[in-house]
């Protein structure tokens, strides 16, 4: 494929006013992402109408929004790492090792690793987007309901790594997450399930409400408890930049997870949350010697590289097929259509300024963001020195607004608070919250696609084993369950982690 469009694009994106729009986007995005509980979807959905009504041209709008999108992916980690409050769905896994690092006084180091992993993941995705977009578009087309279901089987297989010291609790969490997805309109039969005639429940529990409730609200309750016990000792801020050895230990993880993240991001119907979950659990399965979840830099680098790669990958189906790969790209697709630009393969030839400008601005945006983020690390860690009576009310208001600005309903805030109490109780009982979220992320995709596949085949289960893609995914699922068991056995490691590999 000719890369003429890309040169046209750099010509567009490097115009000084577009550079300014790009920079503004990166800055706004980092800000939107950094605010706990407010994610990129909020940012883009709120900015788009504003830009349109101000008469900003299409190329500049897309460049600015792409900046916001990427910036939010960088910024969203800050509250995850420092406060254990994920800003959006993709940042849930980041907190697992990022927050323990911060608690150990390695906050600055964690933020730097997150920034660098994000940069590598983002760059790999843009390069992939540049050179393989049409090819990957074909891959996405190859994914039908059967293939998506097998992909979910693979994802559940990687989840077996989450079965830690207390497998029952992990499995209960996962099943509860799965059960939560069955609330609302059944997308296949159109039946309402567990809605109790309440219209607000008819579209199910929104992911953002679940994440904010489970993490932000329960964290606030825990902080109150620590305050009461006088157990809130100030966390050492830490000024260290990660050592070369630390960075080197993450190289393999970052490259692997960028690859996983990019491919998962390319598939419409799965997004950054699935990408970060699958790469974290895969890495844990491959590398964990009891350090994951306790501040292992690789456990932080994995989801970070993956969700930025997925963010880039999500542009592939949007640009080549006109099908959004994630919630945020759905809003961006809406933006393109608002300007009467229809994405699809013809976009590269008909509007090279848009397609190329967008991709070129991703290269530039990623570099800008790394440059913007690394020096800012020391500003961000100051957040840890803010007294609780200032910080907590702010987190609460933003949690409320993150929900209210999307759903304009008080009931959704009650729901968020209720979920927060459940999250608090679960943590008291020594449950991990991550399996709940993972069950929720994977549940609906798994159920809908299995049922669609069986609807297409008329009940024949063989449809799940028909295509090459499915067979490869089945193979990978088996591999991911067996490989660590095999490795463990060969190394005869002293601590034999539970090798029963359940979940799948």
């Amino acid at each position: 494929m000719s890369l003429d469009y890309l040169w046209t694009g750099f010509g567009v994106a490097l115009q000084w006013h577009n550079l300014m729009y790009g920079l503004a986007g990166c800055f706004l995005g980092t800000l939107v992402g950094a605010l706990p509980a407010v994610g990129p979807i909020n940012g883009i959905a709120l900015l788009l109408p504003l830009l349109y009504s101000m008469g900003v041209p299409a190329d500049s709008t897309m460049i600015l929004l792409a900046g916001v999108y990427y910036g939010a992916e960088y910024g969203g980690r800050i509250s995850s790492i420092l406060l254990n409050v994920p800003g959006d769905a993709g940042a849930v896994m980041t907190a697992l090792d990022g927050n323990p690092m911060a608690r150990q006084g390695r906050a600055a180091e964690a933020l730097a690793i997150s920034g660098i992993s994000s940069f590598v993941g983002g760059m790999i995705a843009v390069v992939g987007l540049t050179f393989f977009a049409p090819l990957l578009g074909q891959l996405a087309i190859g994914f039908g309901p059967a293939e998506y279901f097998v992909l979910m089987v693979f994802a559940f297989a990687t989840l077996s790594s989450m079965v830690g010291h207390h497998p029952v609790k992990t499995m209960i969490g996962c099943v509860i997450g799965l059960a939560l997805t069955t609330i609302g309109l059944d997308p296949t039969s159109g039946a309402y399930r567990f809605t109790f005639d309440e219209p607000e429940l008819s579209s199910g529990i929104e992911f953002i409400i679940l994440v904010i409730g489970l993490f932000s609200i329960s964290e606030v309750l825990f902080m109150l408890e620590h305050q009461y016990h006088g157990r809130l000792k100030p966390i050492a801020v830490g000024r260290g930049f990660p050592s070369l050895a630390t960075l080197r230990s993450c190289v393999g993880t970052v490259l692997r997870c960028s690859g996983i993240g990019f491919v998962v991001g390319v598939l419409p119907g799965t997004g950054a949350s699935v990408a970060s979950a699958v790469s974290y659990t895969t890495e844990k399965r491959l590398l964990d010697r009891g350090t994951f979840g306790k501040g292992d830099p690789r456990g932080l680098a994995a989801p970070e590289a993956a969700n930025n790669a997925a963010a880039g990958g999500a542009f592939v189906p949007m640009l080549t097929l006109g099908v959004p790969g994630s919630g945020t790209t759905a809003v961006m697709l809406g933006a393109l259509m608002l300007y009467n630009i229809m994405p699809g393969p013809q976009l590269f030839t008909e509007r090279p300024d848009i397609a190329g400008g967008l991709i070129a601005s991703m290269y530039i945006g990623n570099i800008l963001l790394l440059l913007l983020n690394l020096p800012m690390v020391h500003v961000f860690v100051r957040l840890l020195t803010v007294p609780n009576w200032v910080l907590i009310p702010g987190i609460l208001v933003l949690s409320f607004l993150g929900v209210y600005s999307m759903y304009a309903s008080v009931l959704s805030i009650y729901m968020m608070l209720g979920i927060g109490v459940l999250g608090y109780a679960a943590r008291k009982l020594d449950f991990d919250l991550a399996p709940i979220v993972l069950g929720f992320v994977l549940g609906r995709v798994a159920e809908t696609n299995l049922r669609n596949a069986l609807a297409i085949s008329g009940g024949e289960v063989s449809i799940l084993f028909e295509s090459t893609i499915s067979l490869v995914l089945w193979g990978m699922a088996v591999l991911v369950v067996l490989a660590p068991w095999y490795l463990h056995r060969r190394r005869r490691a002293a601590m034999a982690a539970a090798p029963d590999g359940t979940a799948a």
Binding site: M171, I392, P393
Partner: protein
């Protein structure tokens, strides 16, 4: 931290979550078999998943009740009162969004929360006013999200 490692020592309280989960699984499963639908184009239908999940959950709940593992003690006394206070305050302020408006409801919530986190009254008021003004400004004027100003004031 109170722990109950071996199953023999675990008290009734420690097993209670298992019982609650079991009860939930039963209710969820029964409700799952009652889902009304005309017909589905797939052989599984909307009931299969909930029913399978409820069975799984029931088994896991029994397992949990037998081996509850570690747990932290539940909050009691004044701590419990504070936690409940925070939740009531939050829920109340959300309820008051429409009648009182976002700025006043937020002022109330933030000031109250600050007090719970050991702020002085002066600090608490500053925190309330600051948060209300800041976020109202950001969302309404910068992002163009309409927030309620309060029906009591004719908004």
């Amino acid at each position: 931290m109170h722990t109950a490692d071996s199953p023999g020592q675990a008290g009734l309280t420690a097993r209670l979550p298992g019982v609650v989960l079991f009860g939930f699984a039963v209710v969820y499963g029964i409700a799952g078999t009652q889902i009304e639908y005309a017909f589905s184009s797939d052989p599984l239908g909307p009931r299969s998943f909930p029913v399978i999940l409820s069975l799984l959950l029931a088994v896991l709940a029994v397992w949990y009740a037998l081996r509850p593992g570690n747990a932290e003690p539940w909050p009691r006394g004044r701590l419990l009162a504070r936690l409940v206070g925070l939740l009531v305050l939050s829920a109340l302020s959300a309820t008051l969004y429409v009648p009182l408006g976002f700025p006043l409801a937020t002022l109330m919530m933030c000031a109250g929360t600050a007090i719970l986190f050991d702020a002085t009254p002066r600090q608490a008021i500053a925190c309330g006013v600051g948060n209300a003004a800041l976020w109202y400004g950001v969302f309404v004027h910068l992002l163009g999200v309409p927030l309620p100003v309060g029906t009591l004031f004719g908004g």
